[in-house]
């Protein structure tokens, strides 16, 4: 480079290495060194920009330059290549400063066909950074790339490949995806070209996998693992790792090749690999990539390969104990990068107890390392080790160190890892200790992670509660310490559990009563306290210190400071009090009658006050006792808190609860809250029975539910705030087992229709929301919550041309359609839930329904001869593969109807198989993304006894049982 030197060297200029020195960028002066071809004009321009004292000055200087460049490009005089390059480079600099550039693309494209390397290079850089979808330009760019790829000049070829990889657009994929594999495996391609081709192909594959054709070349790609050139191997492994995830079988041979390559690297002396040795560590990048590749597969089946691999893993673990060959951090980082990747592979295999425990010990050493980075990674990696049955106990031995980390680490991201690990290592033996440490941490925890800690504590407390008074104490402590971060899910859950367990109700009432004594207690405490006292206040009413009037005045002292939602809940508590404690009736009626309630500006509050007042004056004590009866137990389903944590953290977050494998006893006790028979009662069907609602207002809270519709949608599986017309939601749901279209729900306001179709493991469901009233529904928001194994994707609704907003309006008399795309990933038992919320005349409405997606929707009928059927029937003879039910007929026993139902259920009906012609025999395959489940069924009607016997045999136990239960309810 013949760049003229500027007058002075920058005084503050200093080398960037080593890290951590004070900054150099204080003076705006051109650098002394300019390598390659200096572009003086560019350097002057950059220097000018740096000298600008204000943003305005900078913009002014840039505009001046843009005008200059534009005139040069438009000028009559043809620009030479050098000038063009310089101006294009200036434009690029301006763009990278954050300004928009709307010209110069054509000049950049012209540079691509220059035969001067640096001009071509700048052209490609510009195109890579400022891609423009102008089709004419793309055609020209692709032409230039095509020429360079065909040029046989490796440097030009690499430039072209870099450009494709940097842009990675679908257009580029369409133009080149077919050529690049050829370049990659061609015998005469230079090493550098192969490297670029491999990673270029990887980028195109990631962007548009459909455009990359698999074929004969794939086998040859795998053999690049044997290439002599380490750089080629390094690039190829990344490509193979990505491709093999989609087609594991096609790439299976890569396992043994990867193992032998890894083995050679791991056992090589620290200098053998010359320039591929990094601070005395042989080929760290390649080693890490090979270990990643192996994590795409289960342990090698071939014993020799497996033996060799285990040897490698042991060598890596052994080397970690050797004294370092250098004091440099680069040495230990590279070495430990391999070590952590090795541990990841060991955890992935989860089959070598010896290696797992060694890995755990190694991580244990890192927990106390002076390097923060290593402590962080050790905590993170131990989290996954904690979920292995082989290493769970070993992880637990580090509990004190981890608790200490939670208390003393100065970096919040490290403390968060410590909290994660405590959560992961928690089991019955240490739950009390861990929960109390996490509660203590919560008092000083960073705001950013409080909500997550609250969720974790709530889950652990529920999961490992031996006595539920501890659980109640813990949740109340959560509200006390971090009330703002206690989400609805958490406090709903404590109510569910207290309602379902009568052994803790008295304790809960006493404890909330005490907690409410605090002068400034959190509103969530008022909610929990209000609800619990409304249900179980009678259990502590014997004590004069918590007599009914005391309970009431304590709650009412909080009333005026609370939000509308809480006040609505308290009003329900009050009406419940009237039933529980007749002596409070007069006082409470006085409160309800007050103008501030009866004429409250909030419709919901006003309505409750009016209705509760009327109810308390009109209804007899018997009726009152029936209407305001204690809440029935809640049906058990996945903890909503856990679901929330999973939503927050993605799959795997709930690992502490998926521990049935290592702690089989845990499920028996805390797997679910058993409904206690003593409190079971049937909710009375409708308030209309009381004759109280001559003209029911649209948003009448169901008087039966005690707490009103604030809670009903969360707690109930089916019933909506508005009583539904026709079949109950559960009945409607069951009707859909054997059919795909119909009305799923209907009440006075809303009708929800369903049309669906299923093919293989995919389905599409159209939901029609019809507004039956003449008033607009506002903030109409239907959301689908689905269990992990079913994936739904909500498509735009008609008539909205845009993606469906979170909520929208539905005009009176109008119908809105929503489309759900459904993919069945694995067999599943629980259907997704559809939750619909909207406002009607200002009052919130909500309902939650089961969506009619059951496992049998993914049935493919299979025709087979009698002989085949019996052979398969015999193959599925393990007791757990069979499910059988004998039940009474609920409908007239009509053979044609039965046939139609079985076909609607999805199976093929096989004639001439069963010796008894009255019997029905069917077969089919359930298609899920992960696996197929073959199913055989037999239905034997007994007309005389009006009974059926149904037998299901499938290759998966839960599927047999589940299908049997679904089908048995159809006859």
């Amino acid at each position: 480079g013949a760049e003229p030197r500027p007058a002075a060297r920058p005084p503050a200029r200093q080398p960037a290495l080593p890290p951590g020195r004070p900054g150099a960028d204080t003076t705006a002066i051109m650098p002394a060194v300019s390598k390659g071809d200096g572009m003086r004009g560019l350097a002057v321009f950059i220097s000018d920009i740096r000298n600008c004292k204000s943003k305005e000055a900078e913009i002014k200087r840039i505009n001046k330059e843009l005008a200059n460049i534009r005139s040069k490009f438009k000028g009559d005089k043809a620009l030479d290549g050098y000038s063009k390059k310089k101006y294009v480079c200036k434009l690029l600099f301006i763009f990278l400063l954050g300004h928009d550039i709307d010209f110069g693309h054509m000049e950049a494209v012209n540079l691509l066909s220059s035969n001067k390397y640096t001009e071509k290079q700048i052209g490609y850089l510009f195109i890579s950074v400022l891609v423009n979808s102008n089709s004419e330009l793309i055609r020209l760019i692709n032409n230039a790339i095509k020429n360079d790829l065909a040029s046989r000049n490796p440097t030009f070829m690499c430039l072209a490949l870099h450009c494709i990889a940097n842009v990675g657009s679908r257009e580029m994929g369409e133009a080149f995806a077919a050529d690049i594999p050829r370049i990659l495996v061609a015998g005469d391609s230079m090493d550098s070209v192969k490297q670029s081709a491999a990673l270029c192909l990887l980028r195109l594959y990631k962007a548009s996998p459909d455009l990359v054709p698999m074929g004969e070349w794939t086998a040859r790609v795998v053999h690049l693992l044997n290439d002599q050139h380490m750089g080629v191997v390094t690039a190829a492994v990344s490509l193979i790792t990505c491709l093999c995830k989609k087609n594991p079988d096609d790439f299976k041979t890569c396992i043994s090749l990867a193992v032998s390559r890894l083995s050679r690297i791991v056992s090589s002396a620290s200098t053998d690999l010359q320039d591929y040795t990094y601070y005395f560590v042989p080929a760290p990048w390649l080693s890490v990539k090979l270990l990643r590749l192996l994590q795409c597969y289960p342990p090698p089946e071939d014993a020799a390969v497996k033996g060799r691999l285990v040897e490698c893993l042991e060598t890596v673990l052994n080397k970690a104990q050797e004294p370092p060959k250098s004091k440099k951090v680069q040495h230990s980082n590279a070495k430990n990068a391999i070590l952590f990747e090795t541990i990841s592979l060991i955890i992935h295999y989860d089959s070598e107890p010896n290696l797992l425990v060694r890995a755990c010990n190694q991580l244990g050493q890192f927990l106390q390392h002076r390097e923060t980075n290593l402590r962080y990674l050790a905590l993170e990696s131990m989290c996954t080790l904690a979920s292995s049955e082989f290493s769970h106990e070993a992880v637990k031995t580090h509990i004190d160190t981890v608790i200490n980390a939670l208390k003393t680490e100065r970096d919040v991201s490290v403390r968060q890892r410590a909290a994660d690990l405590l959560y992961a290592m928690c089991d019955r033996s240490n739950a009390k200790q861990i929960v109390s440490e996490m509660l203590r941490y919560l008092e000083t925890a960073d705001y950013a992670i409080r909500e997550e800690i609250v969720l974790k504590v709530a889950i652990l407390a529920e999961k490992y509660a031996v006595d539920y008074s501890w659980y109640v104490d813990t949740i109340l402590n959560l509200i006390r310490i971090a009330g703002d971060y206690v989400s609805e899910e958490v406090w709903y859950r404590v109510l569910q559990i207290v309602t379902n367990r009568d052994d803790v109700q008295g304790y809960a009432a006493k404890t909330v009563f005490e907690a409410l004594q605090a002068p400034a207690c959190h509103e969530n405490m008022v909610k929990v306290g209000g609800y619990i006292l409304g249900e179980f206040g009678n259990l502590i009413a014997g004590d004069p210190r918590s007599s009914p009037p005391v309970q009431f005045s304590l709650l009412h002292s909080k009333f005026h400071l609370c939000s509308v939602a809480t006040r609505a809940l308290l009003l329900s508590t009050y009406i419940k009090f009237i039933n529980l404690f007749p002596e409070t009736k007069a006082t409470i009626q006085g409160v309800l009658r007050a103008g501030s309630q009866l004429r409250n500006a909030d419709v919901e509050l006003q309505q409750r006050a009016v209705e509760y007042l009327t109810l308390s004056s009109v209804a007899s004590t018997d009726v009152l006792a029936t209407v305001l009866e204690e809440m029935p137990p809640f049906p058990e389903r996945e903890s909503s808190i856990l679901a929330k944590l999973k939503r927050k953290k993605g799959p795997g977050a709930g690992s502490a609860l998926d521990d049935s494998r290592r702690d089989p006893s845990s499920n028996d006790i805390n797997g679910g809250v058993e409904p206690t028979p003593s409190t079971v009662s049937t909710p009375s069907p409708s308030a209309d029975l009381l004759g109280l609602r001559a003209a029911p207002p649209p948003a009448a809270p169901p008087a039966t539910s005690g707490a009103g519709n604030l809670l009903v949608d969360v707690f109930s599986d089916g019933p909506a705030a508005q009583p539904s017309l026709g079949p109950t939601p559960e009945e409607a749901f069951l009707r859909f087992v054997c059919k795909n279209n119909g009305v799923l729900f209907e009440n006075q306001l809303l009708q929800i229709g369903v049309k669906s179709e299923f093919r293989q493991n995919l389905g599409r469901m159209y939901l029609f929301y019809g507004n039956k009233t003449s008033v607009q529904f506002q903030n109409f928001s239907p959301t689908v919550v689905h269990p992990g194994d079913l994936q739904t994707h909500i498509l735009p609704a008609w008539p909205s041309p845009l993606p469906l907003p979170r909520s929208f309006q539905v005009d009176g008399g109008a119908q809105v359609q929503q489309v759900l795309n459904i993919e069945c990933l694995r067999d599943f038992l629980t259907p997704p839930l559809l939750s619909v919320r909207f406002r009607y005349g200002g009052a919130p409405q909500s309902l939650t329904l089961k969506l009619p997606v059951t496992i049998n929707k993914f049935f493919q009928p299979t025709e087979m001869a009698a002989q085949d059927f019996f052979q398969r029937w015999k193959q599925l003879s393990l007791p757990q593969q069979e499910a059988q039910k004998i039940f009474k007929a609920n409908h007239p026993m009509d053979a044609e109807v039965t046939k139609a139902k079985l076909l609607g259920f999805g199976s093929a009906l096989l004639d001439n198989v069963d010796p008894n012609p009255e019997n029905f025999v069917g077969a089919g395959i359930i298609q899920t993304k992960a696996l197929q489940v073959g199913c055989l069924l037999r239905l034997e009607p007994n007309a005389q006894a009006q009974m059926y016997r149904l037998t299901l045999r499938t290759s998966k136990e839960p599927v047999s049982r589940h299908l049997c239960e679904l089908l048995a309810q159809q006859f």
């Binding site: 071809d37 870099h162 990675g168 670029s196 980082n333 990068a337």
Partner: protein, 159 residues
């Protein structure tokens, strides 16, 4: 790797390389957010942090922060050494590199990065091989661009 950002202590972006398709608006938003987050961290803190669903690995060299976003399964420590190897490559090429070199020769910084990382993956780890590719390019141009170089220097610095 999803992207790499180089920025100064004053928060000025010096290099940006994106390996996933994002709109310019989104890129600017991410940059703003990350620069702020990283600059707010104290010196002795760990080099990794969770950000959205990605892992951020960063390290400071003199006045410059190097910041990479990697995916969940990616290896943090090896990413730190990707950063270091890139610094070494710049250092070898420029000879004791400093932030000014990257400002004034930004295009070179991009070229070197492309030889080292492609599509977000390590392409070539040998320092020799990477610099050979770049220097070959410099040699190639010197043959062709000599006339231009001469012309400029004649104009500016008469003998």
């Amino acid at each position: 790797m999803q992207f790499m950002l180089l920025f100064s202590r004053q928060g000025k972006l010096r290099l940006q390389k994106w390996y996933v398709p994002l709109s310019d608006k989104e890129k600017k938003k991410i940059t703003r957010e990350l620069v702020q987050t990283v600059l707010a961290r104290k010196p002795k803190m760990c080099s990794f942090l969770e950000w959205r669903d990605l892992k951020i690995v960063y390290k400071r060299y003199a006045s410059l922060y190097f910041c990479c976003a990697i995916e969940d399964q990616d290896n943090e420590l090896i990413t730190l050494e990707i950063i270091h190897r890139y610094v070494e490559l710049l250092d070898k090429y420029f000879g004791s590199v400093c932030e000014l070199d990257i400002i004034f020769n930004f295009e070179k910084a991009y070229f070197i990065l492309d030889e080292f990382l492609l599509g977000g993956e390590v392409q070539e780890t040998s320092k020799k091989n990477v610099l050979k590719a770049i220097e070959q390019a410099d040699l190639l141009q010197e043959g062709g661009a000599e006339a231009e170089g001469e012309r400029e220097s004649l104009k500016q610095t008469p003998y």
